[in-house]
């Protein structure tokens, strides 16, 4: 195929509507006779509900209905958990609390009213009596806590899992040094700028329920909500309209989605719920939440002999869709981009009285990368080696791919030293070190941090995923010659309407503007899996390529018939099939195929193709990030003075979109490293409950990001793409922390837990305890 668009910085086709405010997010859609829903949520972390009195609320102006757990628990199935693990305890998870509340923000009652103001007013009129119970908050102590959240389980352990290969005891025993460190991955809030929201409409005659939801996975949601509501899946339509960011937080099936559907069915009127930001911080999934202990063995020359990671993973009070699976992704990626003969991860996953954790951008891999990249720096410090050198000594060479890790993965392709060298050159690493030495003499506190990461993307083979790891695509050339692409990978800001159009335009030789990429509506688009796990282009894009190939084959046969030639003799270029001076355009072929007056007898009319792509393996993007930081001796303030990132996500469809993904990912990492933390107090109150206390990075906090790429194609798919959605979030955090720890190494610091707030650093510098 001619690459007119692929590889180019094509401006996004979705932008004109968005920059004019003409896109439609859930709350922008209004239906006649629509009602509004507001939730009463628990203000206790753990309590028994002794009574609920909704009578006053029911009589409030505008109120149409009030529902409590008693009303719905036998009518709506459980909020689903899709992760399967041996001996996993799955708590009964109802859409509204019944006898107990388990976390601050746990929904207790839903008020339905004629407008959002009336719904909100009525919430204050519901009287709930609670008997407060002790809250389980500390992650490390949860397993042995005498308070058991789900009593029938007997303890707070959701599961225990040991994973990894190699003889870890022998590996650590053979080491010249074993470095140990406790390490905390704090809880984070994904904070998609658009909070969640659901609009539900039920047509009693047709018995059709339609849900508009701000979701990353319309099809999976349709299946799950149909099960929860006990309605035929083919009578449920889910539409993900414009989705204002997800970062994993909308890769889920939430209580509110099923409940709104049920309410619409009860009342036979459209109902809408739009999450407030306070609700979003309380009751949309959280990310990270691990406390782990590293043991890493090394030889005097820097060779790593083995790694053990014993981790307590905070599930929260319930499992959401993938909650228990997230730590397993950490386990898979612990080898980083190094040859480590023995790795063991021992997970103790615990229930606590907090919102569930789940997939937040990176989903378990940032934790793994942080563990191994911090560990490599600690090894370097122990051996008094340059951290770059330690990394180099443990890289597999490009020839060693596919490279098998002791975590059971086969890395598809890689040139780790290539990305590292390019980043070192861009940053002028040796000069940085010289400058650092000089600055230290002047009393400055400057650090240089490096992270060389690899991540797991293109999720993924179905055998390794809970709900299918494939993706689908349909391509249709309409009678007028316009091209429709239907993708099951429903985007929420990634720009697939553009990148998939680029792929299709090149393949069919048509103008980009003649292509419409349609997604997010289960009634229009064939079943698909969704956009998450940096999979959309690698898996969904590949399905599209396959569909385009099939469509082209069909078109070739139609064209050959029209041109009265053999299909093999046809050339297809710039949208034209030609042979012997005769030619026909794909648009003409499409029309002929639809008119069907002159088509081969053995061919069906119409011009379309649908294909599903099942990847054989994951892909493994990688790269190197280098960060220079300076700490203000007086205040502990950190300034990131240089940021260099070289990422390799395989082949690139649109460099502009790739850079955008990297930028955004890095900035979320800066957030985790320096600013963000969800804090529950020891009673389980979420005290960072608004954006006044939970610090999302602002423009002025961010340094200029110097980006470049290397390009190592993936052999896993014909496009050679690997995926880029999470790379920035995975690679950046340890580079920032390594930089700051490096800056503080003269003060005897070898490790610090995030977020690295000024007060913490000031105390170290000034030894103020």
């Amino acid at each position: 195929m001619a690459e007119k668009y692929v590889g180019q910085r094509v401006k996004r086709t979705e932008d004109p509507r968005l920059i004019q405010g003409l896109g439609h997010y859930v709350d922008d859609i209004k239906l006649a006779d629509m009602l509004h829903v507001a939730f009463l949520r628990s203000m206790y972390a753990h309590a028994r509900i002794t009574s609920i009195d909704t009578s006053e609320a029911l009589h409030a102006p505008g109120v149409v209905a009030v529902y409590t757990g008693q009303d719905v628990s036998s009518k709506i199935g459980q909020v689903p958990c899709g992760a399967a693990l041996p001996d996993l305890k799955v708590p009964d998870h109802r859409v509204l609390a019944t006898d107990k509340v388990y976390f601050v923000g746990h929904p207790i009652a839903a008020v339905v009213a004629t407008d959002r103001y009336a719904a909100r007013d009525a919430i204050d009129l519901i009287i709930v009596d609670y008997e407060e119970l002790p809250a389980v908050i500390d992650v490390e102590g949860a397993a042995s806590n005498s308070t058991v959240i789900h009593e029938h389980f007997g303890d707070n352990i959701a599961y225990k899992l040991t994973a990894g290969e190699g003889d870890i005891e022998a590996a650590l025993a053979s080491a010249d040094h074993v470095v140990k460190q406790r390490l905390v991955h704090q809880r984070l809030a994904p904070i998609a700028m658009e909070p969640r929201g659901v609009l539900a409409r039920y047509l009693p005659g047709e018995k059709e329920l339609t849900l508009w939801s701000s979701t990353q996975i319309p099809h999976l949601m349709r299946t799950q909500v149909a099960i929860m509501l006990g309605i035929p899946e083919n009578k449920l339509r889910v539409i993900a309209p414009e989705v204002g960011g997800g970062f994993g937080s909308k890769l889920n099936v939430y209580a509110e989605e099923a409940l709104l559907g049920w309410i619409a069915m009860q009342l036979a009127r459209p109902v809408k719920w739009i999450e407030t930001r306070r609700e979003n911080i309380q009751a949309t999934i959280h990310g990270r939440g691990q406390v782990g202990y590293i043991e890493i063995g090394c030889k005097n020359d820097g060779t790593i002999t083995g790694l053990r990671y014993n981790v307590f993973a905070d599930m929260g009070a319930y499992h959401q869709l993938l909650t228990p699976a997230i730590p397993t992704l950490t386990g898979l990626m612990l080898s980083g981009c190094y040859k480590i003969p023995a790795i063991q991860m021992n997970t103790t996953a615990v229930f606590t009285n907090k919102m569930a954790t789940d997939a937040y951008r990176g989903a378990g891999r940032p934790e793994a990368t942080h563990v191994i990249e911090r560990a490599m720096d600690m090894v370097a410090a122990k051996l008094k080696m340059d951290p770059v050198e330690v990394r180099r000594r443990n890289f597999p060479t490009p020839e060693e791919f596919p490279f098998k890790t002791a975590t059971g993965l086969f890395y598809d392709s890689g040139n780790y030293v290539g990305a590292l060298d390019k980043a070192l050159e861009m940053a002028d690493y040796s000069k940085l070190r010289k400058d650092q030495a000089a600055a230290r003499k002047d009393g400055k506190i400057i650090g240089v941090g490096v992270s060389t990461y690899v991540e797991i993307c293109a999720i993924g083979p179905s055998a390794a995923t809970p709900a299918g790891g494939w993706e689908s695509a349909t391509v249709r050339v309409e009678p007028t010659g316009k091209v429709t692409v239907l993708t099951g990978a429903s985007p929420h800001g990634q720009g697939q309407e553009t990148s998939f159009a680029q792929i299709a335009a090149d393949a069919l030789g048509v103008d980009l503007n003649d292509i419409a990429v349609v997604h997010g509506d289960t009634a229009i688009v064939q079943y698909g899996i969704g956009t998450f796990g940096s999979r959309a282009t690698a898996v969904g894009g590949t399905a599209l390529v396959l569909a385009l190939e099939e469509l082209t084959k069909k078109a070739t046969r139609f064209a050959a018939h029209l041109l009265e030639a053999e299909p093999e003799s046809l050339q297809f270029e710039d949208g034209k099939f030609s042979t012997d001076g005769k030619s026909v355009s794909i648009q003409e072929v499409a029309l002929a195929a639809h008119l069907a007056r002159n088509i081969p007898a053995d061919m069906d009319p119409g011009l379309s193709a649908t294909r599903f792509f099942e990847p054989k393996n994951f892909t493994f993007p990688f790269g190197t990030h280098i960060v220079v930081s300076e700490i203000d001796r007086d205040t502990g303030d950190v300034k990131l003075t240089k940021y260099v990132a070289v990422d390799d996500c395989g082949k690139v469809i649109n460099p502009m979109l790739v850079e955008g993904q990297i930028h955004g990912g890095i900035v979320q990492s800066i957030g985790q490293a320096l600013y963000e933390e969800l804090v529950y107090d020891d009673q389980g109150q979420l005290v960072t409950g608004t954006l006044m206390d939970y610090a999302v990075p602002k423009a002025a906090m961010i340094p200029w990001l110097e980006l470049d790429r290397t390009e190592t194609p993936s052999p896993v798919n014909p496009l050679g793409v690997k995926g880029v959605g999470e790379a920035g979030t995975i690679g950046a955090t340890p580079a920032i922390v390594n930089s700051i720890v490096d800056a503080l190494s003269p003060f005897g610091i070898t490790h610090l837990d995030m977020p690295l707030r000024p007060e913490l650093l000031w105390k170290i510098v000034n030894n103020a305890g």
Binding site: R116, Y117, R120, D121, D124, T276, R277, R278, D634, T635, D637, Y675, V679, V687, T688, L691, M692, D693, Y694, A695, V696, P697, K698, M701, R757, P758, E759, W762, K763, N766, A768
Partner: protein, 285 residues
């Protein structure tokens, strides 16, 4: 987040406004710009029954010079002060402090009077008002009175304004020649509120020594305060690095500092000294 119901009146004269306030006593609340009150109402932490919007009263938004004073109407927005070329010339502390409040949108709508009357312990204006020895004019149905900034801030969200009083004007003595000023702030990264904010206004004598200094500090304690010990140490001192540092070290003498998640009391006290030193240094340039 949606406020509870309330009634709303937008009087067009100050007399009308104070009459409404005295009539509705405890149930009424003054709406100035609304950037402190409306968020609290949306969280339903504030549920006034009546809002008296003073935004439609003509003649409460101005910056003028009169009687040796700068007079600023209570409804003057932070941005109006930030962008005043005249103030930058005669009293740069005002625009400098204004420009560090919240963000652009907040500065466009929030008012100096609203902020001072709210007396948030981490607001920027109280520090500046203290360092500038401002007099705050309060109007009620009983008449008008002046309250010195030093007496105005009573405690957390508590001012010397009495029931029925509206803050109408801020009067600031026009700084003398050879006055140096600065406002420096450590901002909380999420909210933008001052973890510590230090406002300094100092007058130098012909020889360059500090004749008198006024230092207002916000963010540290339950209310903004004048750092008397710093001022005393600066008075008559030569403004060299060592002297400034020694004076700034007294920034929290006798002050009961508060801590929160982001910054402990101990750290705030330390930051106060650092920012005092920096602000004094900047003001003495």
């Amino acid at each position: 987040m949606i406020p509870a119901q309330f009634d709303y009146i937008a009087p067009t004269t100050l007399d009308e406004a104070v009459a409404l306030l005295s009539q509705h006593a405890d149930d009424a609340k003054v709406l100035a710009g609304g950037h402190s009150l409306i968020p609290a109402m949306k969280l339903r932490l504030a549920q006034p029954q009546l809002l008296v919007d003073i935004g439609r009263i003509k003649g409460l938004s101005y910056i003028r010079e009169e009687g040796g004073q700068i007079r600023i109407g209570a409804m003057t927005t932070h941005y109006q002060i930030e962008s005043s070329a005249r103030l930058r010339e005669i009293c740069p502390l005002l625009p400098e402090a204004a420009g560090q409040i919240g963000d652009v949108q907040v500065r466009n709508k929030g008012t100096i009077g609203g902020s001072l009357a709210h007396s948030d312990p981490a607001a920027d204006w109280p520090a500046a008002a203290l360092a500038l020895d401002a007099e705050l004019r309060a109007v009620s149905s009983k008449g008008e009175r002046g309250i010195k900034a030093a007496d105005f801030f009573v405690d957390l969200f508590t001012t010397a304004l009495e029931q029925g009083e509206i803050l109408s004007e801020i009067r600031i003595p026009i700084p003398k020649a050879r006055t140096g000023q600065a406002y420096l702030k450590a901002a909380q990264p999420a909210s933008g509120f001052a973890v510590v904010g230090v406002a300094v206004s100092l007058v130098r004598d012909a020889a360059g020594k500090c004749e008198a200094a006024a230092v207002g500090i916000t963010g540290v304690a339950s209310k903004a305060y004048r750092a008397a010990a710093v001022e005393k140490a600066l008075a008559g001192a030569s403004l060299d690095e060592k002297m400034i540092a020694a004076a700034a070290a007294h920034a929290t003498d006798g002050i009961d500092a508060n801590g929160d998640l982001y910054a402990s009391a101990q750290y705030r006290k330390h930051l106060a000294a650092v920012y005092a030193r920096r602000a004094i240094t900047a003001a003495s340039r």
